[in-house]
């Protein structure tokens, strides 16, 4: 099996080389059969990668520990659901997933464009295959997923317990889909720049892929945040960790692009800007992948030092230099066809929003890479933590929310006083009323940034509701449909526009949640004995009783907590912390091994629309330490006293194993029978649920915008667009290439 997998990978590399050569030859000579052959090599690559990945998945499902990657990241006790996800928990498997997804998305775009952009497509094919070749080479030469061991272990190391979370099944494929999808606009941008075919057609083709990349990346980022909140036991959802930032930067850049592309579509402006954003988004996606895999920056996600850094630096260097070179080369053809008429126009608002997004990318990039920058400049590595982001990101986010409310309301080209009055009165009133209400009825004035965010959020939501209401009313007036049908018809007929508006509302909801939870969070780090209680934000949290459980896989120490407010019972929470064996640590004895390995917190959480009560226990095992040391000593004595014959006897081995399990169980049970005070982290966070609700709304809006438009409407829109905008003069590929 491993041999077949490796053969498929090598074959994939050969197909990639062939595909690049035929595509470029086809592009240079204009011979369609070679172009088609290059395109088919992408389909072939996708088939080969599906086969290779299927082999790896089968190895995981069969717990075939002859595969090194299976032995290192899975075990026979790993649940089947997580065995399916285990391949991308390793460097090797995730590289394979990268090539698989890239080949599938590349096949899709090339199939959809097989009769369009004929001059651009072969260059795009070559670029996409170039990316695939890079990652496939890494998988073949640096991190082979099909490497095997002649003496496979009887049991695997298992998947890291922190990854035993449903989000992990979908979070990495979402991120990788986002990253790989961003290479599609990049490839077509390169093709368009090389051929000089810089009209709107290629942009219209890649727009949907950029939107899909944005959507997948956004879902991936938010699933990661959810995992962090419910699994990592620190009470937060975002830590400005380099790996989090690595995904956020291309997402912000793609957000800028999917807005500014509308200006090029409508007014023929910002061509250089759009081309640069497309190229930058993909470069940032590769940079993100590099950050995750190189271990160049210390990260909570830690992807230890690896040998992949240098190839990635080379790839990023090539992308940056070629992008800049191509844009400079084609600068004369990328001139805007119109000028900004007024700063009070939709295009000006979009441009400003773009500048804010790019400023955010710049801030995040600078602070994330600052340790490396400072080391290069001063010789000393200097870290700046999350507080350094806030003075920049918070004001920029406020401006962004404001603009996301203004954008849908303001007219193209130039706004009039009547337009302002008609469109802004209601949303502004809602925003002002929200601000006044919060000032009078809450302590929001103590947190001015949060207060502004709540008010702006209300303004945005009101603006979107107003637009939806007006559109639905207008539709009802012509069709006389009932309200829900008219509303559905409105969305269906202009998915891109109203999907976008829904995304704006979701963003407002999400950022209200972020502002509320970060500004008004109350936390308390306390040590409690059973029966004692602590108070957090008016909630009395009592430690009712301890719980404990021991199994071969882990020992778990937990607590039952009762939460009340004003004498009224609110909820009962259970939290626990499990410890997994630490077989890698040679300094531990047979008993201490069970209590000193990887920890995994189970959060006690009651989520609500207005606030979350979040608890986690951090049991101090010092009272057990003496007994654990004593147990280590006795078992070591026992094992050294065994004769070689006894040590190899299954009866004796089983007896020792059972005795050890019994000892561990008895020690664990002491947490319940002889309870002692333990530490708890207790947090009351308002509006966290709004973050997840906002994310769902954004995903829903994104899907609406992404959903294919019926063919008739598409043709109508295309003809409208064609009659509105002159296309760039056609330049034969062979003359410009």
């Amino acid at each position: 099996m491993a041999l077949i997998g490796r053969a498929l990978l090598i074959l994939a590399l050969l197909v990639i080389v062939y595909g690049i050569a035929t595509s470029l030859y086809g592009a240079r000579t204009g011979r369609a059969e070679w172009v088609a052959s290059g395109r088919r090599s992408v389909y072939t690559l996708a088939g080969l990668m599906v086969g290779a990945f299927a082999i790896l998945e089968i190895a995981f499902l069969r717990s075939d520990f002859a595969f090194n990657v299976v032995a290192n990241t899975s075990s026979t006790t790993t649940p089947t659901f997580y065995k399916l996800a285990a391949p991308w928990s390793s460097q090797q498997g995730s590289l394979l997933l990268w090539v698989l997804l890239l080949s599938l998305w590349s096949s899709l775009i090339l199939f959809l464009t097989r009769h369009r952009v004929r001059e651009i497509a072969p260059y795009a094919t070559a670029v996409l295959l170039g990316f695939a070749g890079f990652f496939a080479s890494l998988a073949v030469f640096y991190a082979n997923p099909f490497a095997t061991s002649a003496n496979p272990p009887p049991q695997g190391a298992g998947l890291d317990p922190l990854l035993l979370h449903p989000s992990m099944m979908i979070h990495p494929p979402m991120l990788y889909s986002g990253y790989t999808l961003l290479t599609v606009p990049f490839a077509f941008a390169v093709g368009a720049l090389i051929t000089g075919r810089l009209g709107n057609e290629w942009l219209m083709i890649v727009r949907r892929f950029a939107l899909a990349a944005w959507l997948f990346l956004g879902i991936g980022i938010l699933l990661g945040a959810r995992w962090s909140y419910t699994e990592l036991g620190w009470g937060g959802y975002w830590a400005w960790d380099p790996v989090e930032n690595a995904a956020l930067m291309p997402w912000l850049c793609a957000t800028a692009f999917i807005h500014s592309i509308m200006i090029q579509e409508k007014r023929g402006m910002l061509k250089i800007w759009n081309a640069s954003l497309v190229l930058a988004s993909a470069t940032l996606a590769i940079l993100g992948t590099f950050l995750v895999r190189s271990g160049i920056l210390d990260s909570i996600h830690a992807f230890g030092a690896s040998t992949l850094g240098v190839p990635f630096v080379v790839l990023i260097g090539v992308m940056v230099i070629s992008s800049i070179g191509l844009v400079i080369w084609r600068r004369p053809q990328l001139q805007s066809e119109a000028q900004l008429d007024s700063l009070l126009s939709r295009e000006a608002i979009f441009l400003l929003q773009n500048l804010v997004l790019v400023a955010m990318v710049f801030v995040i990039f600078w602070i994330t890479f600052f340790p490396l920058i400072s080391e290069a400049l001063t010789g000393t590595k200097v870290s700046v933590g999350p507080p350094a982001f806030r003075p920049f990101i918070v004001p920029l986010a406020l401006v962004l929310v404001l603009l996301s409310g203004i954008g849908p309301l303001i007219a193209w080209r130039r706004v009039t006083a009547s337009n302002l009055r008609r469109n802004f009165t209601f949303p502004v009133l809602v925003g002002v009323a929200t601000c006044a209400t919060l000032l009078l009825a809450s302590d929001a004035n103590a947190r001015p940034f949060a207060l502004i965010m709540f008010s702006l959020g209300a303004f945005v939501i009101a603006s979107v509701v107003q637009e939806l209401w007006r559109g639905t009313s207008a539709r009802r007036a012509t069709t006389h449909d009932p309200l829900p049908i008219a509303f559905g018809g409105l969305i269906r007929r202009n998915r891109r526009r109203y999907g976008g508006y829904i995304v704006h509302a979701g963003l407002a909801v999400l950022l209200i949640g972020v502002a509320g939870s970060s500004s008004f969070q109350h936390s308390n780090n306390v040590t409690l004995a059973p029966g004692q209680r602590a108070t957090v934000d008016g909630y009395a949290i009592s430690y009712v009783r301890p719980t404990a459980q021991a199994s071969a896989a882990k020992v778990t120490f937990g607590a039952v907590l009762s939460v009340s407010k004003g004498g009224r019972h609110v909820t009962t929470l259970t939290t626990a912390r499990s410890f997994y064996p630490a077989p890698d640590d040679p300094t531990l004895g047979p008993i201490s091994d069970a209590f000193n390995g990887q920890a995994d917190s189970q959060v006690g959480l009651q989520a609500g629309l207005t606030r979350d009560i979040w608890t986690v226990v951090n049991p101090d095992l010092t009272p057990l330490q003496g007994l654990i040391t004593d147990g280590d000593r006795k078992f070591l004595q026992l094992m050294t006293s065994l004769t070689p014959a006894q040590a190899s006897s299954p009866t004796v081995v089983n007896w020792v194993r059972d005795e050890r399990a019994q000892a561990i169980t008895e020690l664990t049970d002491r947490f319940v029978t002889h309870p002692w005070p333990v530490s708890f982290l207790l947090i009351v966070s308002p509006l966290v649920t709004w973050i997840w609700l906002g994310a769902i709304i954004i995903a829903g809006g994104g899907l609406i915008a992404l959903w294919p438009v019926p063919a008739v409407a598409r043709r109508r829109a295309a003809s409208r667009s064609a009659s509105r905008r002159p296309t760039a003069p056609a330049v034969p590929a062979r003359e410009t290439a």
Binding site: D160, L162, G235, I300, H301, T380, V384, A388, D584, D585
Partner: protein
């Protein structure tokens, strides 16, 4: 107003904003930043009362509990040198011997005291280079 003059004003405003942002960013980074040191650098350079970020891996067999305090040694990634840290506060789940950590410490007498809740641990999830017990 003359359109070219308008464009020049807009460009000047945009460039000034960008310059201000960049200056603020550079100033904040250098003023708010903390030196990130390895165990050997910390032993050589640490001054009492000053905060440093200590980076390295948790030494096998060094983790002990003393009441609410967690004691562990952080090993230099290149040299066979380690620093003993006494830490209180939230311990991230991925914390374990052999794992990479970052912790903000201050020298107090002969020991290094970890700032409460400053411990971040590298996640073992993916792509970790082979860890070998020291």
């Amino acid at each position: 107003m003359d359109p070219s003059r308008k464009r020049a004003i807009r460009l000047t405003v945009a460039l000034t904003a960008a310059l201000l942002l960049a200056s603020a960013l550079i100033w904040t980074s250098f003023s708010a930043g903390q030196e990130e040191l390895t165990a050997s650098q910390l032993l050589k350079n640490a001054k009492p009362g000053q905060s440093y970020i200590l980076a390295g891996t948790v030494l096998y067999g060094s983790v002990q509990h003393e009441g609410d305090a967690l004691l562990f040694s952080v090993r230099d990634p290149k040299l066979r040198v380690s620093v003993r840290v006494r830490y209180t506060g939230a311990v991230p789940d991925p914390f374990a011997p052999g794992r990479g950590v970052l912790v903000t410490v201050q020298k107090q007498g002969g020991t290094f005291i970890g700032e409460q809740n400053s411990l971040t641990t590298k996640c073992p999830s993916k792509y970790q280079a082979e860890a070998s017990p020291s």
